[in-house]
Structures are given as C-alpha cells and as structure tokens.
Point group: none
Chain length 213, copies 4
C-alpha cells in the first residue's frame, strides 16, 4: 500500500453521493441528513453496532425509514459516515501532516487516548470497527483515516531531520499499523483504562524502534 502523500482524508461524502441533481424534484434535506447521522451516533454510543437498528435511527431522527435507505445502502454505511465524519467539531484528532517533533506525535496519541477513554468515543469506535468487518470499503476508509496520516507525519519528520536513512519504509508501515492497531485493539477488547500513559508508552516504544542506533 503506497503512502498517498498529500492525500485528503478529511471529507468523505455519503456513499450515495451528493444529490447530483440534474434539475427537477425536491432537493435532499440537509436537516434530515444531520438528524440521521446524529441519531446514529447517539444510538451506537449507548448500545452497540449490532443492537442499533435503522428503524430506531429513523425514529429518533424524526425521519421516515426510506429517507435513510434512499441515501445509504446499509447500516454499516450509516455508521461509518456518522462516526468518521463526526458532527460539528472533529471527532478524532488528526496527526498534523507537518509534525516535526516527537512531542507532536505524543500530543496526537494522547488526544486520541482521551477520546477512547471516554465511554462514548470507545463505543463509537467499536461500532466503526464492526462496520468495517462487514464492508471492505468501510474498512479501507477506517484504515486510511487513522493510519495514513501517521505515515505522512513520520515521513515528513524524517525528511526534515535527515534521519531517513535509518528507518525503512516497511518499518514506518509497521510502526503506524501497530500504533493505531494497538489502541484500537484495546478498545475492542474493552481493556479498561486507555490512558495517556499507555499511549505514551506505545509512542515511546515505536520511536525507539524507529530511531537510528
């Protein structure tokens, strides 16, 4: 998997795409869209992917079921968009593409750990992973959203500090996969405490592994 250098991970549209309207007919209701995503987030947060139902999402959003099915092909797609896109502010911290110092990585990982320590955040991520296990496209979106930015950041850091000779590409891959995977695995297995300390330990270990001898 090549590293999509300056890739735009941010805005991933609904699967059905923007209304695309040629012209006639009533337009898609943005109000309904937001209500659905928000309802999905809420329901997934206090139950689980399996227990969430489209019916309940529609009801809570004050929307007909068909309005959900018109724009998303499956429960997994709704959850993916709801959890990945978030609502107003960003749900998940993004590694700054120009991260130069180790402290940037620590800050990011600590931030992420905070979100995952929160019950709501953890539940949402669990749901997202379950959704990914159902649908390969979502799986890819999940991977790209969390892992790819780390690649970019580490590469730009190395380039800046001329230490590139040391860390091979496969090491960077391994580092990113393990870091993200490690945190996600803790969430999936509900290991109680996802603390900044734990996240720091992971970052430290990985950076030490990547560092020149």
């Amino acid at each position: 998997m090549p590293i999509p250098a300056g890739s735009e991970v941010t805005r991933i549209g609904p699967v059905g795409g923007v209304p695309e309207s040629g012209s006639s007919g009533r337009r898609r209701s943005e109000r309904a869209r937001q209500a659905i995503l928000s309802a999905a987030r809420d329901l997934v947060a206090d139950a689980s992917f399996e227990k969430m139902t489209i019916e309940a999402v529609a009801a809570r959003a004050g929307v007909g079921k068909q309005t959900v099915y018109r724009w998303w092909p499956s429960k997994a797609a709704v959850v993916a968009e709801a959890v990945l896109e978030g609502g107003e502010g960003d749900l998940w911290p993004l590694v700054p593409a120009s991260a130069l110092a180790n402290s940037d990585l620590h800050a990011w990982a600590g931030d992420l750990a905070d979100r995952l320590a929160d019950h709501r955040g953890a539940a949402m991520l669990r749901a997202l992973v379950s959704a990914a296990s159902e649908d390969a496209d979502i799986a890819k979106r999940l991977y790209d959203r969390f892992t790819a930015p780390f690649h970019t950041a580490v590469i730009s850091q190395i380039a800046a500090t001329r230490q590139g000779s040391v860390a091979s590409m496969s090491d960077i891959h391994a580092a990113a996969d393990m870091l993200v995977g490690g945190l996600v695995f803790l969430v999936m297995t509900r290991t109680e405490s996802i603390t900044r300390e734990r996240a720091d330990a992971m970052i430290r270990l990985v950076l030490r592994g990547l560092a020149p001898r």
Copy 2:
C-alpha cells in the same frame, strides 16, 4: 492488568458447563456440540458475524435450535467458543511460554500471519472481534488468548537473559498490545497482504524498542 503467569488459557468450556455428571437422564451429546461449533466456524468463515444466524448453524449442524440455546447464551458465545477453541488442531499458534530466543517470537508471529493471510482465518478472526465488541467477557477472553502468552514469553526470556533491568513492565504491555493489535487491525481493515515480512517487521521494531540501549 497483571500477568496471569501459569494461567490455563487453553480449554474454555461452554458457559453452561458440562451437565454436572452424576445427574440422571440422557447426557449431553458431544456429537451435537462439535457439529454446532464446526457449523458456526464454516458459516462465519464465508459470511460475517452479522450475517451468521443461529438458525443456520442449527440447520447445518442437523440440530434443533433449542440444543444450541440450551448450552450457549448467545450467538457471540457460540462464535467465541468455535473460533477460540478451534476444532481438532489448534487454530491459532500460541507463543511457547518458555520462548527464549527472538527467533521463537518470529516463528510465532510468522505462523500467526500465515493463518491470517488465509481467507478463512481472517474471516474467523473478524467474527471473533465483532463478537467481542458485543460482549465484554468475550472481549476479555480474546485479549487473554492472544496477548497474555506474549507477556509470559517476553518476561521469561528477560528473566533468562538478565536483561530485565531495561524493559519496564509498561513497555512489555505496550509491546504485546501493539503487536497483537497491529496484526488484528490489519485483518479488521482487510489490508490485503498479511505476510510474514510484515509480521517480521513488527516483531523487529518491537524488539528493538524493548532492547537495552
């Protein structure tokens, strides 16, 4: 989370347990039990946790639905037992508790990567993780089955080579979580190639991170 040194990870019985020998009446049919677990494995392997149904398991096992519900409380429990216990041979390699050399860890990780590269193995692990996201007990079983042995192995290795001073306990935790989590995350996100090389890179990185300076 303390490391349960000599813990028995191997045999995790059905939740209901064996029918408490000594009682009168017909005994639990081992044949039915195996048929159910095997059917569950098959169905989960070529669909997904969500799409697998107890009804289909019962049908394929040639068993009444009640016979499933008599012994397992939920779909998640059936899948957990089916996937974790495996059939005849062990489904998932176990780190030898007395692993002394780095090569032992490489061998284990490579072995695991092989299983996960296989479509059937990957599907089964995905199902297991989904099951874990539904049920905290299963989540714990999953974590213990894959992470704890690594802890034990690394600790015994350190004890043997008197390098214990270097690696802190939290580093060992981090290492185990990341290693297992990294591989599992690749499976969940369906990253195409889970190769021995990838696994080796992970192990190498982690060992370098753990090593004394």
Copy 3:
C-alpha cells in the same frame, strides 16, 4: 328511492370540478386527464382494484403524482370516473329511456352481457364494485348508473301499454335490483360464462314475474 325520471346520468365530472373559469393561470390539461383515466382503466383491467396504485397510474400516464391528487381525492374516485365515464365510446350500454318493447330490454341485457363476458370489462366492473364498497358516494353512482335507467324504461313501457295496474312499484324495484345485481354478482364471483343466453333467461324470468296474470 324515487325514480329520478329524466336524470342526467351521463356526464359525471371530476370531483374538483372544472377549474372555476375566470381565474388566471394555466388551465387544467385535458391531455393529462385523459391519460390518467386511460391508465387507470388499463391497470385495473389487468390487475385488480387493490393492486392498482396511484403511483403506477401516474407513471403510466406520464404525469406527476400531484396531478392526480389535485383532481381526485382517492383511488376509488379515479377508478369510478375511469370506469363509469369510459373513454371515447360508452363503456356500458344504457337502457333507452323510452324502451317500449321487451326486445329492447333483451337487447340491452345482451349487450351488457357481452361487455361482461370480456375479460377487460369484467375486471373493470369488479374494480368499480370494490371502489363502491369503499365509498358510499361511488356506491350511489354505481347503483344509479345501472339500475335507475331500468326503472325508467320499465315505467315508461308500462305507461305506454296501460298495464301499470299489475306491476307494483316495489315489484319494479325488485326486478331492476335483481337483474342488475344478478349480472354483477356473476362478474364478482367470476362465474365463467356470462352469455347472452344467461342474460336472456334473467330478463325472461323477470318479465314473466312482472306480467299480469
């Protein structure tokens, strides 16, 4: 129920009526109106009242759904107008108001039988009766369209031949109800063969019953 002697049964306008001339704006499209009625007739003819949908009517007529709802309040109303008014030629024969001879009645009944022997005609009448069972107004329209003309005809015949003393009003009612009802019942119960012979037998029986001793 008094016999509305010279009643205009023929033209029954749309419920909403013509757009109240004098107003500005675009006029009702006669083309759309005909397309809708024709589509309704077609759809009802090869399915049933229950299975016909307004959506399908609009689609087949190449018309927006709203254009149907603007002019008719319900599916029953559309069907009633479509089936009762017919298209170009009259769908259902009308007893001539001045029927003087028995042969006129035989001719009418035979004609009606022919229409009902046709699959399309039978299906349309079935739909009309179903529509009537939903809506009392339509029920009245149906009754008046088929039964009242018979009343008128028989009365005028009696007046002409001075045999009025014999047949009481209630006998005439009974005769009309039974004649029309008998044929309609055959259609509703899908009795295979609605032949001129059958219709003749009915007319004969009724006339013999009405005749002076």
Copy 4:
C-alpha cells in the same frame, strides 16, 4: 355449472389445511386461529376490506404476524374464512336442502335480509365480495355458499311437487343468481334499507316467474 346435489357447503377448512401433522413439533394453536378470525371479523366490520390490515388483525388477536401468514396466504383468504365460516353460530342462514314450501324460501330470504340490514353483517359481506374480487378461489367459495343451496332447495321442491316440467334448469340458475345477486348488490351499493319487504318482493317475483302458467 352443474348443481352439486348433496354438496357439503358447511365446513371449508383453512387454505393451508389442517396441520396435517406427521408427528413431531408443536401443534397449531386453535386459540390463535379463533382469535385471528374473530379479530378479522371485528376489524372488517368497522372499517372495510381495504382498510383492514393484517398487522392490525395480528395485534388485536394478540398474535405474531407470522402466525397469520403461516396459515393463510393473503388478507383475502383470512377474510374469506372469517366471514364465511363465522364464529360459533352460523353467520349466514342456509336454505334447508329439503325446503318444500314457498314459505321456507321466504323465511330464508327474510333471515338473510335481517343479517344484511345489520351494519356489521353488511360490512362483512362487502368485505367478502371485495376479497372475492381479488381471488378467484374465494369467488367460487362465495358463489357456492350462497347460490348453490338455493339451487338444491328449488330442485327438491320441484321434484316433490311434480312441477318440474315447467321450470327449466336455466330458469332455476337465473332465479338463484338474481335472488342472491340482487341482495348482495344492494349491500354493495349501500342501498339503505334491506328490509324483509324487499326480500319478499324479490322472492315473490322470482317464484311467479318460475311458476307454471
């Protein structure tokens, strides 16, 4: 249509047939069956065939929807059985097969008129006719239930009184169709008053028509 002389019109089983049980498994619940038919009767009586829903029937019967669909193929079939079979006492009077006197026919017709004068009875018959318009089998059941007994009665009467020479078979058919059809048509078109007088007039007319000169 031949006259099924001594036909058993009485018990027409559920379409799905009696459980037919070879052996094992839970038996069909008679309680549920009665509850469903009774609920269907009630709902159809105070709405219409179109407005009645299977969902409402199931709910009112305290039964799962599936239990309805397991035994009846369609709404029409449920209504047909509910209305034709009736509950405890017979819903619709049956002409005695051995009717010998005209007064027997008058009694029957008067009885039937009473049922149809009742709002509930009328609504149920309307629903039955609508059901028949959807399904040819039900149409036949409806025809046989109401018309055939009349055939039998008239024939037996004729045989007894040796007046057979006069009334031809086609006249008897016509008489039966018109009598039943006349009453049913009044119900369908909601003609307000279905009185014994009206029924008597019909019977009188028909008998006069059938009588020898």
